[in-house]
């Protein structure tokens, strides 16, 4: 699992590469706990190379959801593989989080 951060003026782009499980969840969490994160208007998550997400991986997003909402930071997922989207959908997260097909839509959202 690799997490790469690309900050820009008002948004932070996180590119996820590999399987997000209990061991790699720590990596992602360390990106999301950074206090500077709340200064962005949007956090974009590129899921193109995210091949698997375990419940521990979902837990990381869930644990930060409330905090981001409270600070008006929008969490947007894009380029999500169908298999991964399925996991979000089964858990009902698609109704809570913004999941869009492309980066363009994510930027516009």
């Amino acid at each position: 699992m690799k997490v790469t951060a690309h900050p820009s003026a008002d948004s932070l782009l996180l590119v996820l590469d590999g399987e997000l499980d209990a061991s790699s969840a720590v990596l992602l969490d360390s990106e999301l706990v950074k206090p500077g994160l709340l200064d962005y208007r949007k956090v974009l998550i590129d899921c193109a190379k995210l091949s698997y997400i375990s419940s521990a991986g979902l837990g990381v997003f869930i644990s930060h959801l409330q905090r981001l909402q409270d600070h008006n930071v929008k969490l947007v997922f894009f380029n999500m593989q169908e298999k991964v989207f399925n996991v979000f959908e089964i858990l009902g997260l698609d109704s809570l989080m913004t999941i869009v097909p492309t980066q363009a839509e994510a930027t516009a959202a």
């Binding site: 209990a22 969490d29 419940s55 521990a56 979902l58 837990g59 990381v60 869930i62 644990s63 959801l65 409330q66 298999k83 089964i90 858990l91 009902g92 997260l93 109704s95 809570l96």
Partner: protein, 700 residues
Amino acid sequence: MRQRLSFCSLVLAVLSWGLLLLGTLGRAHAVPGLAGWPRWGIILAQAVFVLFVFLYQRGRPDPLQGYDFVGLLRRLVRGPGLIAAVALALGLLERAAAVARLPAGGPALLAVVYTVNLGLFVVFLARTNYAWRSLILFRSTVRLRTEWALFEVLLGATLLLRLLSWHPPATVNTVVFTALALFGAYLGTNQKWVAYLSRRQKWQAVAYELLLLLGLLVFVQYFRATRFDPLLLAPEPQGAFLVLTAFFAAFYSVTGLLVTFFNLPTARVHEQRRAEVLSLQRLTQIIQRGQSEAEIYQTLLDAAADTAQADAAWLDVPAENPAGKTTAATEYYYKVSPAEATLLRDALAHYRLSGVNFVNNNLAEKPALAAVAPHYRSLVLLPLHGTQHRYGTLYLLKRIPYGFDPEEVSVLRSFTDQTVLSLENLTLATLALHNQRTQEELKIASEVQDSLIPKNLPTDDWFEISTHSLAAKEVGGDFYDFLVLPGRRLAVLIGDVSGKGVTAAFHMAQMKGIFHALMQGNPLAKNERDRFPLPSRFMAQANAALAHCLERSSFITSSLYIIDYEQGGFMFARAGHCHTLYYHALREEVFYFQSAGLGLGIIRNEGYEKHINNQFYDYGPGDVMVVYTDGIVEARGAGQEEYGEDRLKLRLEECYYQEADAIKQFILNDLNAFTTGQPIHDDQTLLVIKFKAVQPEPAA
């Protein structure tokens, strides 16, 4: 046998000595009427006497007991040494009598004293030589034993030589004599036993050997003096044999003396090595007895200070703060006051020696140290380095300069290494104990969890149920439960707590508690139907209850089904749990229920209820409901691909007509074939509920 031989030798020796006395007296014409013996008779008696004394001595038990070399020498000095004293006294007595011209004196007294002394001398030599034999043969080789036997035989031969009337030429005599003396000298170099003496014992050995030599000197002096006494008419004694054995006894004493003497400086080293070995053993034993760190540190300090003969020493153990356990800094002192140690410690801090081995044998060079403690001239500083961290630092001081040689420092290093090893062993042992406890606790948790899973499945004539559950670890996060509600209704709950292990199991137990509490029924409800919450309401209440205790990153997925026989239908709510697989008998179709619903613990406020809803469905006879957790559909095959919803659906299409148990087994067999050789990543739970093909008439 041996005892009898020994006894015979003794008797014969005494007899032959008696004869010898008679013969000598006869030759001196000291006693009237006693016939003078021929020369050969006396020589024969002498030879027989010598032979049997030696044989008797030879047959006695080994005078060396274990490693008691000093004891052997002491007994030798007390026995033959006393003999020499008696000989000396007799010699003096006889001299005095001769000088005083006492009537009792004269040739008779001389002859008696001479014979007695000769006898004593022979006994003295026999005792000494056989004591030397024990020392020479101590830890000897077979070759050395053969050489010794040969030496004995050759000496015996010289006895015989004297008996023959043939007198070899002087040159041959000298050659044989010298060769034997050299042989004895060669044997005399075997002084292996000296190495086993401690310093103190060596001094004792030297003293005893000197006393023995003195005894020998007394005899030699006596025989030299009487040899040319005109009054003595006895033939000269068994010269060659006695001279050779006397030479051998003396030579061995002298070499022993020299070896011992020149070994003395190394004796201290040997003793020190032995003390070091003992200290190391003590250190090792302490850990084996499972004692505390404090005892290990104290032993190290004592052992190091003793061995190095330090004038002052202390050991600093810094404060530790590993997870869960905090220990204060501790110091151990040896012949130094804490105040003085603090002074020295501060002075040493000046040189930044923390964590390094440091030896200084001339502290006068270090002004900061010399200022606070001018009386110390040598210092060794040894940190105790473990694989993970430093346990402490050992300081040793001496008042003399150049007090620590490299060898000593290396021994001290082996002490500290051994200590570190002991300390790490202790940590490991504690850890192992802790792990064992954790394992036991896990086992208990696993047993508790197992007791939470329903063993007695509900039965009725309108459905059948088959269940399967397998935890990936000792305790898992999957759960399911049933409750039979009044009015022929059945509540089925399934769930999966995110994460695994004890925490997950704890939340699972909590969920079971919530299920039983909410499904007890509300006695204030207006009608029977309203006494139990709708599945969506149940999920909202469960979400509210869990909100307070579930960790922020944990959530639970769950589905609740309430199946109503009288209505011929069921309602359910899916809170983020896997989709329900269903076989519709009438339409001969297998499908997944598609419904939305958010997992529990994701939204922890009133807003949750918006994200959950109920679904109603009428079931028909022969319908099959398959309820499972993601451990089934996310199980990995050899190529890391997932088992998947599609494959599960295909399997049900092949086996829906069978009984619930058979359907479950069919799916599990396929799952196991798919995951062969792969470890189980997640708990697996599978419930199969089949509505019987022939439904009994509902009660009126």
